[in-house]
């Protein structure tokens, strides 16, 4: 009995002394613990998909496209809109306005996702990537490099647009390490420095991205949407070309655009409307360089809200300016330019009111899934950039003229739904006598061609910088250059005292 007691006592003491340290290491099974994530290629691929979703969702990409148009001379107030639209009164825009704050928030949310991926993914063994699809019959070459390239492109894409709207912005390239507000206060980084980061990211992307994603090991039918829906070398080159164009580094812009045009990956479509005519099943055309891939289904990426800027209750809700309408040749009765007819419609009862209908679709705006792609980058822009750059480098330039006429040629559409449209006449140096005049023609053509596609505000700002002009100011109803940039959101100034406000707010 005594022996039993002693052994029980020992057992008891052992029970007391057992430390169950491991007991506390409880990992959740309803979410991914970031500490143990990014260890496999599939983790990194999923994170990249999340980054695409965040970058292309309506809060970010659609807003970039819409705000750029709305901050210009192309769009007016909602014609029959029920939603208030403070942006239309740029003078009334203030630091409490929701739109800039929303764009700011969505941008940095996406950046956190991308930064995390770029921090963690490099540590994954690259050989794992290339065997990621065993049995698929495809050997993926440098998938890891391509994946990182895609992420670098997305970061560059977001920072590029942040700078366009806000000027100097905090440059953050790391996922936050601390959840304390005081550890996360950062000042605004001079935009030159941000743009340098953008260029670095794009350099990496250009070097590492393939021209297409046909080797991802997916079905042939999916290769197209992979190649159009993901960043490619073409997209990286075009974004770089845009920046060089903005910096008036004409030759560089030309070289990059030529690289895209000569790659054999893209070509202009014959019928211009097919680029946007998703309602008729046309998407991912040969002209598209980057196109958001919407699809229906639970959890899938859709463009809800994106088109809502243009449509409400199944009706167009945006008004185009008369100036924009009159920029095109032809009238409603005698159409000349398919781009006019497809992009805008004049109210019959009130000819001064023009609807912007470029993104008209047959689906109501509140439909839970909106299977319409946006095309933020397409080949035509390369032609326009080269034409503009060549003209800046010397006048007259026949190649520039040829490109512009190539674009004008597509104003013709003999199979348009409402009847044949004859198209506009080509330009010729017989009529255009000076470099300045041609510059003006190129700019007008660019405006017509890319109308409502999110370029106009950036173009106006660029032209003002070139010409020392004030067209943006006037277009926005401002009397001084104050408020050309968006305000830094009020809540950000409160939570981060290191930030300074843009002038005018």
């Amino acid at each position: 009995m005594k022996r039993i007691h002693i052994s029980l006592l020992l057992l008891a003491l052992a029970g007391l002394l057992v430390t169950c340290r491991d007991l506390l290491d409880v990992a959740p099974n309803d979410r991914i613990d970031l500490d143990s994530f990014y260890t496999s290629p599939s983790d990194a691929e999923a994170a990249l998909i999340g980054a695409y979703n965040y970058t292309f969702r309506s809060d970010l990409l659609s807003n970039i496209i819409f705000y750029s148009n709305r901050s210009s001379d192309d769009l007016t107030a909602p014609l029959e809109g029920r939603q208030s639209d403070p942006l239309m009164f740029r003078p009334a825009l203030n630091s409490g306005s929701g739109e800039p704050a929303g764009l700011w928030r969505a941008s940095y949310e996406a950046l956190a996702t991308i930064n995390l991926l770029l921090e963690r993914a490099p540590a994954i063994n690259e050989n794992l990537f290339n065997n990621a699809n065993p049995g698929s019959g495809t050997i993926q070459v440098n998938r890891k490099a391509a994946l990182l390239g895609e992420a670098h492109f997305l970061r560059a894409f977001i920072y590029y647009h942040l700078v366009q709207f806000f000027g100097d912005v905090p440059l953050i390239i790391e996922f936050p390490k601390s959840s304390r507000p005081e550890d996360n206060r950062v000042p605004r980084t001079p935009q030159a420095q941000v743009m340098q980061q953008v260029m670095n990211d794009l350099d990496f992307a250009t070097e590492n991205l393939p021209w297409n994603h046909n080797n991802l090991g997916v079905l042939d039918a999916d290769q197209l949407i992979q190649s159009k829906g993901r960043a490619t070398k073409g997209a990286a080159l075009l974004l770089r070309a845009r920046i060089h164009q903005q910096n008036r580094e004409w030759q560089k812009a030309i070289d990059l655009c030529r690289e895209i045009m000569n790659s054999g990956q893209f070509r202009l479509v014959e019928r211009w409307v097919t680029i946007f005519d998703a309602g008729n099943g046309s998407q991912n055309t040969s002209e598209s360089i980057l196109e958001t891939q919407t699809r229906t289904g639970p959890g899938e990426f859709n463009n809800t809200g994106g088109y809502a800027w243009f449509h409400q209750d199944g009706r167009p809700r945006r008004g185009a300016t008369l100036e924009a309408y009159n920029l095109f040749e032809g009238t409603a009765a005698e159409p000349r330019d398919v781009r006019k007819v497809f992009s805008m419609s004049q109210r019959t009862d009130n000819p001064d009111q023009i609807y912007a209908v470029k993104y008209a679709n047959s689906f109501p705006w509140w439909a839970p899934e909106d299977p319409f792609n946006f095309v933020p980058m397409r080949l035509t822009e390369c032609y326009l950039i080269i034409a503009e750059a060549l003209n800046e480098l010397g006048f007259p330039n026949d190649e520039a003229m040829a490109y512009i006429n190539l674009i004008r040629e597509r104003s013709k559409d003999l199979n348009f739904t409402t009847g044949p449209i004859p198209g506009v006449e080509p330009f010729s140096f017989a009529d255009i006598r000076s470099q300045a005049e041609f510059r003006q023609k190129i700019r007008e053509e660019r405006r017509r061609e890319l109308m409502f596609e999110g370029h106009r505000f950036f173009d106006l700002m660029r032209y003002d910088a070139m010409d020392n002009g004030d067209r943006t100011m006037k277009a926005l109803g401002l009397t001084s250059p104050d408020k050309l940039m968006f305000p830094i959101p009020e809540s950000e100034l409160v939570n981060n005292p290191l930030l300074t406000q843009n002038p005018g707010y």
């Binding site: 999340g50 695409y52 950046l111 953050i172 992979q226 950000e492």
Partner: protein, 1028 residues
């Protein structure tokens, strides 16, 4: 010389043994009233020889020597030791163990005597409540323990309850106390209510915010005592889980002695105490016609005939039966004691198609392997089914297609607003009649055709072993488990008159909480004066759980009601993880000098998987001091009047670990973030290494007084409880990619006074009157919030606010006394005088927390009759009666407002310009949601802010104990029959069904709402307790 003497002595003893005949002794055991006592245990000391008394109190014991000592024990009586001597007949009179001070009470990891308690512990003994039936533990506590506020959230059978020990001390954490049953800390919450704050998943059940009571599965008749540890000194032995108080529940055990069989049974019925007065068919038709004219109808008499006049309240409410039976067998030998019980409880709800039933089995065993080693087990198994109603707010809540849960319209709110012109069944079709005028669903169809059943299987038990290593040093091991398997089935098929395609939802929740505890206790006395108790041990506990919710849509017909019903899976479905684990070490030291001066100190270290790595282990110390002044010599003669005067104080730290389980981790989810048909993940949180428990520092000072041999008792406590490090959302710079992070930053204080009075006013043989009274004054104050910014509850229309310097409050717009005499619209008071309704017109209007609450009980006994009157109250709390707003034309849901029934207050409505009244025009055209000047539509106003004070006759019981003479004849040891009424009388100015209401239990801040809530019933029961 001495040796010789000793030898002689021994010889004498031996001789006497030899000479003394071992003989049989007989006798009778009675109580002070000379009533025979059955089942009294009589044991020969230091032997296994013993017996128990028969039904007439007689006993017979063979082979007893004169030197033997008899040990006589009986529950509730003082233990006696008698030397046998030469007697052969020994009659024994036992006296009641009336001394409260020697009463043993349960504390964390041990027991103590009442007089040695130097902290604030409220006890509710089974005896106190055994004479009045209650369905659940919380009802036994309500009104009986000072400082403990029990709010029945809903009257639904098996419905949830909120218990606040000394006030509200958290905003985003859980506020319910820790429940420990026979040493096993359990999960007292229904799984549906464990939605972690800030989680991405809505884990609410189908019945919306009316969650089920996690304690409802436990059979009340099994309970021996309930102790509520209120102050830091008593509670901090449970460390990080003790900030909301600790409720210790001890179940009954078998006693040495004759086998006992007891049967407790009651049955009766319940009904609704109050109703809303609604318009009848004619009045309603007049209102609709008037509104149609206003809306421009061509025919001024829109409704001519009123062939039906349906009183929907009559149709959905009913008088419902309720039955409870429990049967227990207990007893045992000196070595082994047992208690087994079986219980069945069935309560039909007062709303049709609702109810709760439970069957429970218990086995409690104790066995002594040797004098120093004992083992035992407690095991409780129960199966319960809650037949619930979808009851979440308004009558027009539509199915939420994108949400995780498919909520539906509230049955009660629908019954209040449904048109009286519509019959229950359409006489032409025989199907449920549907209204064409409005979108209110047929309330009877809602109740009958939407099935929502929650099944719960629960096993709760532990194994323990205790070994006395050396005298006074005991080692105890306790291995326990709380196992639950819950399934919720929701189904509604296509029902004519109800509409909508069929829908189904399944929620499943499984949990195993295991516990492994080992501790050493050492009790000793150094000399006569120094008593020492030392305790030290370790505890490991882990909850492994899993739950999911999945829904199906597009169900055809009503035949297939399980997951085979369709392949239209409603997304998103959720499967949240609430796993947690704890590693704890605890120690306690108690010392007293001559039962006069008491010192104790407690420390617990709690490590939890919920806490961030920088603060994974929390340290929770406390200490108490006590002085029994009445034991001092100088107290002298005073002692004859004041037999007990105790002054005590305690101070310490406790924690609240009921915070979202993985809140510190940086994590990512798949948050509808797919692209190109591939799954995408995004980060949702940043690592917060400092994420930790909410801590509460509590000071308690108290006095215990006993007068005239404890005939009267008074307990007074002052406490100050400061809860700090409250988890709040701190805004982050958006440049992090995140809007906010949960941080331990806020602070709330509760301070107050508790008074408890007990008295045996009259105590004679034939008549006695005893009573007790308790009252608590609690003052709640928010001390610190993030940047001093108000925290408001997010739910729509709800207006709770936490503001620094104030208690948790309501903030609302104020209504003008009368409607606009020109338009007939309600207007808000323009507090800032700027002519429009804006934030400047919102003001703090008061608090949903009571100024004081308590209860008082009177027990009478006349001969064999007994009576109990138990009142309970709450004073000074406000309620937002949203239920009433549905029938007040409140304009909150304009589209669906047309043709809904109204309160009879509408008879006094605004009809034409110039009418001065407080009831607005019935206007089906006016879109009141449009903010128009001072229009009161669509914003929370004080329109239905009401005083929620009440005084309630919670219990009235009249019982009769059958006389012994009769019982003996029938072979019973005791029997009592009784009649009970619960909630018989309620004195209140509250206009709703029931002032005891707290609808929104999922959000801590949102208290004080009546939102179509299931009312409590009036209950009438007949019952009996029989012991064989």
């Amino acid at each position: 010389m001495r040796a010789i003497l000793l030898a002689c002595l021994l010889l004498c003893v031996c001789c006497s043994i030899l000479s003394a005949q071992e003989r049989t002794i007989r006798g009778k055991v009675t109580d002070a009233n000379r009533e025979a006592l059955i089942g009294v245990n009589i044991q020969v000391k230091n032997t296994t020889k013993g017996t128990v008394t028969e039904i007439d109190g007689s006993y017979e014991l063979e082979g007893v020597a004169p030197t033997d000592v008899l040990v006589v024990t009986y529950i509730g009586m003082l233990r006696q030791e008698l030397r046998v001597g030469n007697r052969s007949t020994i009659d024994i009179t036992m006296s009641e163990d009336a001394n409260q001070l020697d009463e043993v009470i349960v504390v964390g990891y041990g027991t103590t005597r009442r007089r040695d308690v130097m902290s604030s512990i409220a006890s509710v003994s089974a005896e106190e409540v055994s004479r009045m039936p209650v369905a659940s533990i919380d009802q036994a506590i309500q009104g009986r323990a000072a400082g403990v506020q029990v709010i029945k959230n809903t009257g639904a059978p098996g419905g949830g309850v909120s218990i606040r020990v000394r006030g509200t001390g958290s905003i985003n954490g859980n506020q319910e106390p820790l429940y420990v049953i026979d040493g096993v800390p359990i999960n007292n919450t229904f799984s549906g209510s464990t939605t972690p704050a800030g989680a991405n998943f809505n884990y609410g059940g189908q019945a919306g915010n009316e969650v089920i009571n996690g304690l409802a599965g436990i059979n009340f008749d099994d309970i021996e005592s309930i102790e509520i540890l209120k102050d830091a000194a008593s509670a901090s032995i449970y460390g990080a889980r003790a900030a909301n108080g600790v409720v210790l529940i001890t179940t009954k055990r078998g006693q040495v002695g004759r086998s006992q069989i007891s049967i407790n049974s009651y049955f009766g019925f319940q009904n609704l105490a109050r109703r809303y007065d609604l318009l009848n068919a004619q009045q309603f038709a007049a209102v609709v016609n008037e509104a149609q004219v206003r809306a421009g109808a061509l025919d001024p008499v829109f409704i001519r005939d009123t062939p039906f006049d349906t009183d929907w309240q009559n149709e959905i409410f009913r008088t419902a039966p309720m039955v409870n039976t429990s049967l227990s067998f207990s007893g045992g030998s000196d070595k082994t004691q047992y208690l087994v019980s079986l219980s069945y409880f069935n309560q039909q709800g007062i709303v049709i198609n609702s109810g709760f039933d439970r069957v429970g089995f218990r086995t409690n065993l104790d066995h002594k392997i040797s004098d120093r080693f004992k083992v035992g087990t407690n095991l409780f198994l129960s199966y319960s089914n809650s037949q619930r109603l979808r009851n979440t707010g308004g009558p027009n809540v539509q199915d939420d297609f994108n949400g995780n849960a498919v909520f539906g319209p509230s049955v009660i709110a629908s019954a209040l607003t449904a048109s009286p012109l519509i019959p229950v069944f359409d006489p032409n079709t025989g199907f449920y009649a549907a209204d064409t005028l409005n979108s209110i669903k047929n309330p009877v169809a809602l109740a009958r055709e939407l099935d929502l059943n929650s099944y719960s299987l629960r096993a709760l038990g532990n194994f323990f072993a205790e070994l006395e290593l050396i005298k006074g040093l005991r080692f105890r091991t306790n291995l326990g488990a709380d196992i639950r398997d819950e399934n919720e089935e929701f189904f509604f098929g296509e029902t004519p008159g109800v509409g909508g395609s069929g829908r189904l939802q399944r929620r499943s929740f499984r949990e195993l909480i295991w516990l492994s505890e080992n501790y050493l206790t050492y009790n000793t006395k150094l000399g006569e004066s120094h008593s020492i108790e030392l305790l030290g041990g370790a505890s490991f506990q882990k909850s492994v759980n899993d739950g999911y919710t999945i829904g199906l849509g597009s169900i055809i017909g009503t035949q297939v009601t399980n997951l085979s019903a369709s392949n239209d899976i409603l997304a998103p479905y959720s499967d949240p993880d609430n796993t947690w684990a704890m590693v704890s070490y605890f120690t306690r030291a108690r010392y007293d000098f001559q039962n006069k001066y008491y010192f104790s100190g407690t420390m617990r270290v709690d490590g939890s998987s919920r806490f961030g790595p920088n603060r994974q282990y929390g340290f929770f110390p406390s200490g108490s001091l006590g002085w029994r002044v009445s034991e001092e010599a100088f107290f002298g003669n005073l002692k004859s009047a004041i037999n007990e005067l105790k002054v005590r104080g305690s101070y310490g730290l406790t924690g609240n670990d009921q915070i979202p389980p993985f809140g510190w981790r940086a994590s990512a989810v798949q948050l509808n973030t797919n692209y190109i048909g591939q799954i995408g993940t995004v980060p949702i949180s940043i690592q917060n290494e400092d994420y930790s428990w909410e801590s509460t520092v509590q000071l308690d000072v108290g006095v215990d007084i006993g007068l005239f041999e404890d005939r009267f008792g008074l307990v007074v406590d002052y406490y100050k409880k400061t809860s700090r490090d409250l988890l709040l959302f701190v805004p982050l710079p958006q440049t992090t990619g995140f809007g906010s992070a949960l941080s331990n930053i806020g602070s709330i204080e509760n301070r107050g006074w508790e008074f408890g009075l007990t008295g045996r006013l009259i105590d004679t043989r034939n008549f006695s009157w005893s009573g007790n009274f308790n009252i608590t004054f609690n003052q709640n104050e928010v001390l610190e919030l993030v940047g001093g910014q108000d925290v408001t509850s997010g739910s729509f229309g709800y207006a709770n606010v936490a503001r620094v310097g104030l208690p948790i409050s309501f903030q609302l717009f104020r209504l003008e006394e009368t409607v606009d005499p020109v338009t007939g619209n309600r207007r808000v008071r323009d507090l800032n005088g700027n002519g429009i309704r804006d934030a400047g017109d919102i003001e703090i209007v008061g608090s949903p927390l009571p100024k004081h609450f308590g209860g008082f009980s009177n027990n009478f006994r006349y001969k064999n009759f007994d009576a109990n009157l138990f009142f309970q109250w709450s004073y000074g709390n406000l309620i937002i009666n949203n239920t009433r707003s549905f029938i007040q034309n409140d304009g909150k849901s304009t589209i669906n407002r047309i043709g809904t029934n109204l309160s009879t207050e509408a008879l006094n409505r605004w009809q034409r310009e110039g009418d001065v009244t407080n009831f607005p025009a019935i206007d089906y055209t006016n879109n009141q949601n449009v903010v128009n000047g001072l229009s009161a539509a669509g914003v929370p106003t004080d329109q239905n802010l009401e005083d929620g004070s009440y005084l309630r006759l919670k219990n009235l019981t009249i019982g009769y104990t059958l006389p012994k003479t009769l019982l003996t004849k029938w072979g019973m040891s005791s029997a009592r029959i009784y009649f009970t009424a619960n909630n018989l009388l309620t004195f209140t100015r509250y206009s709703g069904y029931d002032p005891e209401v707290n609808h929104n239990t999922l959000t801590n801040l949102a208290v004080g709402y009546d939102d179509g809530t299931y009312p409590q019933a009036r209950v009438f029961l007949f019952g009996f307790n029989v012991n064989l």
